[in-house]
Point group: C2
């Protein structure tokens, strides 16, 4: 049991402090369920009473199979009893199974920020933890600024920690609140703490201000701490918290610790990481350790051939252990072997030499024009299958016009309306349609799908779920200085299957049209329309 | 001298391996000059002979004041003499001052990837380093997969390293090529190596596959290594290389090592980090350790008031030491104190209570509508100054129409043309203009500026340098399900001053118009037009 490490996730509390992050109650419930599903031990859900979202989340908390739901709060105010503290009451009366209370442990903070006697701060910790233990059964103490405090005044920092432990705290969590402590300092200080409070009651809460949050957490575990706090993808204020997604595989696969992970939990890490980004509506970090799309990507020709001989030559773990996969990068530096490996990955086997040559030419041409298929796999697959003659021409667009008009409406309000007119050829018939939309791309999408719907009713089931535009720099070898626009569209069908397509053109409406056209063709091809 | 650590940057070589990264010769020269300017010891510029960009870079290398320019290559081929190796020749004949050659040190790789006798690999290292030392004066050996190799067969790994050292390598660089080694293993293994090869000749090259590249580098230095390799912002294949931007302040400010940094070099770190992202035309990571825009951002009300009392309460270093600055985040969680602090930061002091109240209302209203001013500082400043009545209404737009037309031109080619018509009121006069553009936003921008140019000739000096669109999720408390579009436009004047503005609307043309309007108003206000 000494080698059992407890995982504590604070995405929903400390992670929610991140700039631009605004979880809904539904987001919180979905993330908590996914954390519980893989077997995280503790889920800190928020601070009841601090804002309406957190209060509402704890009023009808999700039913957890495995994890302990934790409510966060602060130790009692100075000069008040713990059971008569309006700040503490919502935490202790919440439906959470445990309470985690933060308090000071750095004398400088007690003197300068709180401006109270140091003994009163120790009493605040002792009283609050004792009451939490009594009311909730399980109490945790977050020792804010513990490492800075220990460096400045170890006796006082230890007095705070000892007070919490003696008052019944199941866990005393050592927080590197400002994130400035380095791994060797963490290891040394935690080593001192566990001489006084057993490591089986010590947790670590690290921030990434020196890019060492993961290493700091691992260093604390090596020194004896047995609870690790982190957030999904390292979400959190400033530079973020320790990334629990990176911590888990290092603790289990590399250091051999036991955790409470469910069977198959580890293989859901990639999915769990992506879930957070989905909920935040932001692109996943391709370069993220263990779970990033590029984490097991091979580019150079030599690497690719060595990996083909034995993956251990260039992979530190088997990517499937964490639910990730190997990718062979398509790029204009990539040779024939890479493109073929990539094709084989999506299930296309080509042996005909002429076809291979033609395909390589098409890919190079597209990349020269500014296309990049990282993150637009559907367009790459389509390009390959088109070059191999597998995809029929589903339709051709003879013409489209899109008009955006900003003017005053009958009520005198300024409104902008978009209207698109399209003329398409489909199965020998010319069809013309007009549609209004919530913006030019929406109008174009609607008009095109109306024009195509009688022949391809399948298109009715898809919807556009994300739309991104970026300006690409002019190529250094181009003669002009014109930048091109790259549009990436993500579509979804009613089964939740998603696919991304890309369009490139100097004109954003044109690049959007190209990405839309690929999105339709990909769906039709996948549905078996030939 | 034992506490002198040498900094080796490989952004231009290993960083250039990153998916989507495609440095031009001009990019390489600009980045090398900036690295030299802060006092980096070694700059690895690329691999002469491997591709036209690298060959051209080394043909006319930049003049460096401080740094040693390094050319990268591979040890000689099996069964060939080093001075008769066509792969080695371009490196040894290049204008670089030193050569860094990579070779195997893991028996498994020698057996499986190279399929040659193990002794031949040792001979390849010895011969190649000896010839490089003779030809260039300074030679470095990159021991590929050293840590995996050491774990599998320490004697063989040490034989490779010793061969390089004895052949005259100034540095033997221990590479964690697959990135899977943890900090405590690095510290232990480097500790063994320095018993054989002096630490003053040992370097560390770490990758971020477990999110420990920075910690691994620091661990190696603690164990005695005295050269650290890294890349700007951790650029590199898969999960990236060790981030030299994070390493430098930890090594100097926190661990007390000497480096070759120039006076003022440390304070240029933030600028250097941003330069790379500028060259790659990608947004900077707001959460990057030390230099990120959010690295010293304070959000919560309690934090802000403690920081006002003494910044050390919530800051692990003084941000100006690395050229960064404190920011007070404007957000709908933010109270009055935060908004006032943010205003004071951009030089606006407000004391009138009515004005403060009005300003807070306007900010909340905008944020409710989906605006976010992180990364669009010009729009925030404008919003504040408008609420305070400082900014005149420069013009009003009565109406605009934008038309995009995709059809066949006279030559039968498919082309998409955009045309905008605008009607504006400026200084009591109604002006109507029409313009064509390279896309709808460009057409609108051109037509608006033509309409305004007679009254505001200043607008002629600005240009749009970046344009980004994202779909924002519907607010959880909104009744509908309509997403809004957020457009961020970055503009520049001819002095290189840049400013970012934001627009939000369900319609992308509308949100683009709002961002353009703010971009003009910000320039006019700054130029003193009242």
């Amino acid at each position: 049991m000494a080698d059992r490490v407890y995982l504590f996730d604070t995405t929903l509390r400390d992670g929610a402090q991140t700039q631009g992050v605004d979880f809904t109650v539904a987001d919180k419930a979905a993330i908590a369920a996914a954390l519980d599903d893989i077997g995280i031990d503790y889920i800190e859900g928020g601070w009841p009473g601090a804002n309406p979202t957190d209060s509402s989340f704890f009023e009808t908390p999700p039913v957890l199979k495995h994890a302990t739901l934790v409510a966060f709060g602060m130790t009692r105010r100075p000069g008040r009893s713990a059971d008569n503290d309006p700040g503490l009451a919502p935490i202790l009366n919440s439906k959470a199974a445990a309470a985690c209370l933060v308090g000071k442990s750095w004398d400088f903070h007690v003197d300068v920020a709180l401006e109270i006697p140091r003994e009163e701060n120790v009493a605040m910790i002792r009283d609050s933890i004792a009451l939490s233990k009594e009311k909730k059964g399980e109490a945790l103490y977050d020792a804010e600024h513990f490492f800075d405090g220990y460096k400045a005044n170890p006796d006082y920092a230890m007095a705070c920690v000892t007070a919490a432990y003696e008052a019944g705290a199941r866990w005393v969590v050592l927080c590197d609140t400002n994130g400035g402590t380095l791994p060797h300092e963490i290891e040394q200080i935690v080593g001192e703490v566990v001489k006084v409070v057993p490591g089986s009651h010590i947790g670590i809460h690290a921030h990434n201000d020196t890019e060492n949050a993961v290493a700091n957490s691992l260093a604390a575990v090596r020194a004896g701490a047995r609870q690790v706090q982190g957030t999904l993808n390292g979400l959190g204020e400033r530079c973020g918290n320790a990334n629990i997604i990176s911590l888990i595989p290092s603790l289990t696969l590399k250091m051999g610790y036991e955790t409470g992970l469910t069977e198959g939990g580890l293989a859901k890490l990639t999915e769990l990481s992506r879930l957070l980004d989905e909920r935040l509506n932001r692109p996943a970090n391709r370069h993220q350790a263990y779970v990033g799309e590029a984490a097991f990507a091979h580019k150079g020709g030599l690497h690719v051939s060595a990996v083909a001989k034995d993956p251990r030559t260039y992979e530190h773990i088997d990517p499937t252990l964490v639910g990730n996969h190997r990718t062979i990068v398509v790029s204009d530096q990539a040779g024939r072997a890479n493109v073929l490996a990539r094709l084989s990955e999506i299930g296309i086997e080509v042996t005909d030499e002429d076809k291979i040559r033609r395909l390589l030419e098409v890919v190079k041409e597209k990349e020269y024009a500014g296309y990049a298929y990282d993150g637009a796999e559907a367009s790459f697959e389509l390009l390959a299958r088109q070059a191999l003659g597998e995809v029929p021409r589903y339709f051709t667009t003879d013409r489209f016009r899109v008009m955006d008009d900003r003017r005053r409406n009958a009520k005198g309000e300024l409104v902008t309306e978009s209207e698109a007119t399209v003329t398409v050829q489909v199965k020998g018939e010319q069809i013309m349609r007009v549609a209004m939309g919530n913006g030019p791309v929406n109008a174009l999408d609607t008009a095109l799908r109306e024009a195509l719907s009688s022949v391809y009713p399948q298109l009715g089931q898809m919807q556009l779920v994300d739309y991104k535009v970026r300006i690409m720099p002019p190529r250094h070898d181009s003669t002009g200085t014109d930048a091109v626009t790259r549009t990436v569209i993500e579509s979804a069908d009613h089964n939740g299957h998603r696919w991304a397509t890309v369009g490139v053109s100097p004109n954003v409406i044109d690049s959007s049209y190209i990405a839309l056209r690929d999105a339709y063709a990909y769906l039709l091809f996948r549905e078996g329309v030939r």
